[in-house]
Symmetry: D2
């Protein structure tokens, strides 16, 4: 095992500084999955379970969502909330029992409510109540992606070391090109945040600047109709199976 | 987001130094899942994808396996290996194409072979060829655990930041008490190793000294028959649903 | 292929007349899954998609539910309902587009509402909005069953040839003893109903008279505490793995 | 519930006689899944678990497989086989224990071997050892289909009332256009066979003459490259989401 005196932040900076790293690449059509952008995690003034990493995180997510809707690509928002009994939190809800405990995020509560800054289009966007870490776990997400025939998954929200990481691993395992716009994910501690960005970048996903993702999503709709969308077309040509 | 000059190793040491952390606890019956104890990952002299963390790792895993078999609890070993086409590695097999690339671990090759030190009892233990990170993903593991009515999952192998982490998250999500014996998991870099031990300990699992796991597994078989196995009975009494 | 002039009803009567058929047997603890007991399927006076088989079906389901709650065993109710776009019905919602079409069962509509005779205890029982045939498909049912450590699944509702059959197959595949109380399932056509009762009885489940299920569920709670519940204990002794 | 003196065969003939039934339709790209074409089920002279429906069944399957390979579309074959302990058959292996019992189809045995007439291209085609009814259940099939970006699933093999039916339901639930070529599926009893063809045709799949499937699969490769493949293009135009 390699030893190192570097912090997780320094190690991620080293990873980013390697411009030659091979990419999974953009594909042909994507889904946007915004994970748990809900007050329990986004309102530090109210809840000690909340955190802020990039102050423009939700603004970026909203812009991505507008771009996706313009292309008629699916936009998904998840949130966690549990039954009064907490039995749907399973073993995850057994270690503590305080107002801040996971299983005590109840349906209809402030903790369970989407952050007011998040532009969730109820009835148009897809909304899932997930109970566990991954947005794929025991939700209808997989069949939605098959039906929409997407090949690329863009993941935002929080936390980087929790639900974002779990969803990223699941997305890659299920066969999707997976992209994490760095400014769009957040965590409560820098070490957790950067260590997981490193793991995702090395193993499971392209961790990109959100500006690059904007350029892809917001590419000329006309060119998209012809199946030629810049770097996406190149990537598809090189690594999609016949 | 909290800032910190500490390394991932230091942060994990802080977590371990907190003896009051609530546990998920041992349950009533467990499965042992030994992940990818195969030459590609365990023979550093042969393969640059291999690594060693605790030199006694495989010895500990073998002792756990003997204890499980003595109690007629299931022992599972996973390995990765792919078709010649690599299509079963999906998008995961697209970033590089060298002899060390994931999708080039071929069936029957040295890379795919269990480490000779690992005491795999073919035909008695359960062996799965997994293709992705989690041992639960697209294998028969979930239904095996239902049929054996286990409530606890013990996870060993490697890498800590890859397949061990992914399996741990899946195990917790699926409702199992999940335990990672620290000396039984390994990684190629200390920062990845310790960062993931921290994530698992804080969110998904009990990260324990292997000696404590030995004591539970090797408890008097007679007491186990009566459904009273020390700390397990206590844990079950406090947090299992009615 | 064996030829036969018999109807599906006659064939099922032959199956029932064989009292020596081996059973999967009751286990130790069960879940009750009541499938789609909602007006679109239970109110023939209102909807042409509805049907009635045994007029006491819902009365029986309610009695089972009371028995389960008395033992603190989980009671699950599912219903189907879709987004305005119908995209969550996927390819299933593409063949017709009338008020009676599946994808047009909308959230909050009369079609999506539980039958008023069904005693659903909101907030106590578990309620899932499923989109597809099986109650296990993309719902949180699997992890709920792990957490409650059930080994037996009792399935009611409709239709016998649709969602009941699909849930029964999924339950058996996942490792559960699966029981269908005959009077508690319904279909729109006798041939579909009886053909599927035959398939389930021969391959996947015990199709039993509801009275026998009542006797098991309503067995003395005291005897249940001792782990001895009549035929259940016998069945468990003969076929549960160590 | 509608009553009827008709046999399952007569009812399926009524369904087929309705040429106006709406279809799911062919999509853009398909997978061929050949289910359990293994001696235990295809050699009636050897095993009483075997059956023959259309004597040209395997010939048709081989022709479909050649067509798929010519288009570089994936060809999948499944078989069932179990550990000596039979624990991987779970509760399904508990009702009988004879040489013909499901759990006694052992790895490497004649029962587990593909029928010698089936042209399985080992190393090129994808082969899964499934343990349960559905080819999707706990195999790597779902991620394979995502990676190949197929939208259509063609299912053959047996039995119609068992593994074919289970796979068909899973395929539809997961969002795929699902097609069952009638001459390519088989069962041991006509009532089971026709009852399940009816259920599939009414609820989950297009049950088509194999000649129509040949025409689609074997369409000019050139036209396929342009994304225009006859009825497929028409179907796609009418019901695929944007």
């Amino acid at each position: 095992m390699e030893l190192s005196p570097k912090t997780a932040r320094q190690i991620f900076e080293d990873v980013k500084a390697n411009p030659a790293r091979a990419r999974f690449g953009f594909g042909r059509k994507a889904v946007l999955i915004n994970i748990d952008v809900q007050c329990a995690y986004t309102q530090p003034a109210e809840f000690k379970t909340a955190y802020e990493t990039d102050p423009r995180q939700i603004e970026h997510i909203n812009r991505l969502a507008r771009g996706f809707r313009a292309r008629q690509w699916p936009v998904v928002w998840t949130f966690v909330a549990y039954m009064d009994s907490g039995e749907d939190a399973g073993v995850w809800g057994t270690r503590t029992d305080t107002p801040d405990s996971l299983q005590n995020i109840k349906h209809g509560s402030r903790r369970a409510t989407f952050d007011p800054r998040a532009e969730v289009q109820q009835g148009v966007d897809v909304v899932y109540n997930k109970r566990m870490a991954s947005a794929f776990f025991e939700t209808a997400l997989q069949s939605l992606l098959v039906w929409h025939q997407v090949d690329t998954v863009i993941i935002t929200g929080g936390s980087t070391s929790g639900c974002v990481r779990a969803t990223t691993v699941d997305s890659l395992m299920r066969g999707y090109r997976t992209i994490v716009p760095e400014e769009c994910v957040a965590d409560k501690h820098e070490s957790y945040h950067f260590a997981n960005l490193t793991d995702m970048a090395l193993k499971y996903a392209d961790v990109l600047a959100v500006d690059e993702v904007f350029r892809w999503v917001e590419a000329d709709v006309e060119s998209e109709r012809k199946g030629e969308s810049g770097s996406a077309a190149v990537a598809a040509a090189t690594s999609t199976p016949a």
